[in-house]
């Protein structure tokens, strides 16, 4: 690579540097896919041996860290830990890595591969995330891209990307359900497609429900040596009715509870969006798990119609992301109107959550709420921002915590503080606080999206302990258990 030398005091002319390409990257739990616009259509950029999928793994070889190997010692499915780790590190030989670092290695591999294949620098990318990804996981994804030297043009939800690829390819209009069952996550989105507008009507999912869970269950129920074998068996039995003495019925008995859970979530989302099944024009299948005959059958039964498979379920998301990347850099007729997947709120008295922006609010969104002091002469107010649907703070994801200091020393209830929540089109939050009671306006702005690095997190935790919040420790303990739980998805 050539370095551009610049005299001190001079800045290089931005127009003199060659413009690179923009791509769409589907950073999946088990596989990653990259696509680019070629003329009017998005196209997959194949990896070595013409494969469109890159295993989302990281392993240690004699040459160093290697992406895409499916050896037994490789780290895999680390996407499930994104935004969840708070100091957790994964071991790979003597290397200690976070899930963000693993993702950044995968993204860097994609970047180098694209630059090699197209002989052109990669300028920026649209990266897809599960619609149900929370704030912390979205930020972690952006951090991974930044570490890999990739500028994120925009994060976009996987089902929305799939709908875009499908809609623009087929010219479909009406209400469509995107059923996305991948290796690590399940997402269901309902979209209205109308004259190049893609309006998300409702979304739901489970960040810990994917093909990996079925692999684990298979391993527990049958005499198999490891997860690689379990996955292989699952794939074989999706094509054949029998493999080495284990039947498709055996697989389906193991998979059924997981599939049932996806159907429950789907029904909830349809009900919440106040849409009847008859209004749904078509069902688009996305993700590797939708290759399983049981999944296809159950989805067909639920919707009373055959799902659509016009585009390869593994490629749809990346193709849609490439369309968005092109649209954002060259202009586009298509318009994506997305929603908040999870409610955003604040902690109030008694550890309860006051929802400020409910889930399924169209983006960008802004909402305000006024709070008062509950003690005479209370000088400060702790603002604790959480995400989730549950009533208690302890059951939601903590995004940020800060103290609003220097409040006027008035009686309880006399000080009024307004808190603004603003969510941008990527689903990222900015919190502002204003105190105007005395005319002394105080304004503080917190962006969890910019401050959630590990250091800030530990500082936030230290702060909250200083204020004697015992519940925080309780929560940390609970998180520790969950963390260990999730950790079991990672081979070491």
């Amino acid at each position: 690579m050539l370095l551009q030398l610049v005299e001190p005091g001079q800045t290089p002319d931005p127009h003199s540097t060659p413009k690179g390409v923009v791509v769409g990257i589907d950073l999946g739990t088990t596989h990653s896919v990259v696509a680019i616009m070629q003329g009017e259509k998005p196209q997959i950029i194949p990896f070595k041996k013409g494969r469109s999928l890159l295993p989302s793994t990281l392993s240690l070889t004699k040459e160093g860290l290697k992406v895409g190997d499916i050896s037994k010692t490789a780290l895999s499915s680390t996407k499930r830990l994104m935004g969840r780790e708070k100091g957790l590190s994964l071991s790979l030989g003597s290397h200690k890595l976070s899930a963000v670092q693993v993702a950044s290695h995968i993204l860097e591999h994609v970047k180098l591969h694209v630059e090699d294949a197209l002989a052109c620098p990669l300028e920026a990318a649209v990266i897809t995330v599960p619609a149900y990804f929370d704030e912390a996981a979205r930020i972690a994804t952006k951090q991974a891209a930044a570490l890999a030297g990739i500028k994120t043009l925009r994060l976009i939800n996987e089902p929305t990307a799939a709908a875009l690829a499908y809609g623009l390819e087929t010219g479909a209009e009406g209400i469509y359900a995107i059923y996305d069952f991948g290796g690590g996550t399940f997402d269901i989105s309902l979209l209205k497609l109308k004259g190049n507008v893609f309006q998300v009507l409702g979304t739901g999912g489970d960040l810990n429900l994917g093909g990996d869970d079925i692999d684990h269950a298979l391993l527990a129920h049958h005499q198999l040596s490891d997860l690689t074998e379990a996955r292989f068996l699952k794939e074989q039995l999706s094509q054949k009715s029998d493999y080495e003495g284990i039947t498709r019925e055996d697989l389906e008995a193991v998979a059924a509870p997981f599939v049932k859970r996806t159907l429950q979530i789907t029904q909830d989302v349809i009900r919440e969006a106040k849409i009847s099944l008859q209004e749904i024009q078509g069902v688009v299948l996305v993700g590797g798990m939708t290759r399983m005959p049981l999944v296809k059958q159950e989805v067909t039964n639920l919707f009373g119609q055959q799902p659509l498979c016009a585009i390869d379920p593994d490629q749809t998301v990346a193709l849609g992301a490439a369309l968005v990347a092109h649209g954002l850099t060259h202009g586009s007729e298509a318009l994506l109107l997305d929603l908040t997947p999870l409610s955003l709120g604040l902690e109030t008295m008694g550890g309860l959550v006051e929802k400020i922006i409910p889930r399924n609010t169209p983006l960008p969104a802004l909402a305000s709420q006024e709070f008062t002091t509950h003690e005479d002469g209370q000088g400060g107010m702790i603002i604790h921002v959480v995400q989730g649907e549950r009533e208690f703070v302890s059951d939601c994801l903590s995004l940020a915590q800060f103290e609003l200091k220097g409040l006027p020393p008035l009686n309880a209830g006399a000080v009024r503080v307004r808190i603004d929540f603003s969510v941008d089109v990527e689903g990222l939050l900015t919190v502002s606080a204003f105190e105007k009671t005395t005319g002394l306006s105080q304004h503080i702005e917190v962006r969890p999206s910019q401050g959630l690095d590990e250091q800030t997190i530990s500082e936030i935790i230290l702060e909250s302990q200083k204020y004697g919040k015992k519940d925080i420790q309780k929560r940390l303990d609970a998180e520790e258990i969950q963390k260990n739980d999730r950790n079991s998805f990672v081979k070491s």
Binding site: L153, L335, L366, S422, V425
Partner: protein
């Protein structure tokens, strides 16, 4: 002053065709959505964010019959009702039936539909007193339905 009708270029009336609302919403988002300004400068991006947010807020108010009615009553300087003794009879009857373990859902749905028509008529007749009474009942009913 935030006016959702103005933001979406719609006539300020209660009666509103959902397809027309949607068409106006899409048109307004096409002009303001931040993705349309991804190549713009920081100021253009910030403006787009602000305008597109306002379009969403307007859409959320106008697509909900109760919020739409509430906004129109406020604009007319009418205070919302905080109780309605005539409606209490219904509430007591429902509570009794609930206590007997009856499924009220189908009946409440019928009542909701009836009240929504009542709200439409009240605004058509410019009868704000009736509008605020029906709005109070609808608000109560929706809480019950949840």
């Amino acid at each position: 002053m935030f006016n959702p009708f103005e933001i979406l270029h719609l006539k300020q009336t209660y009666s509103l065709d959902q397809d027309v609302l949607e068409a106006h919403y899409f048109e307004a988002q096409r002009k303001t959505h931040p993705d349309q300004f991804s190549r713009g400068n920081e100021q253009e991006k910030a403006e787009a964010m602000e305008k597109s947010t306002a379009v969403n807020q307007a859409y959320l108010i106008l697509r909900d019959p109760l919020l739409r009615a509430e906004y129109l009553l406020k604009m007319a300087g009418i205070d919302l009702l905080s109780n309605d003794s005539a409606f209490l009879e219904h509430v007591m009857e429902w509570n009794e039936r609930l206590a007997r373990g009856e499924d009220l859902h189908p009946d409440l749905k019928v009542k909701e539909k009836e009240l929504l028509t009542g709200l439409e008529n009240a605004f058509f007749l410019h009868d704000h007193e009736m509008a605020r009474r029906v709005l109070y009942q609808l608000t109560y009913l929706q809480k019950l339905l949840k």
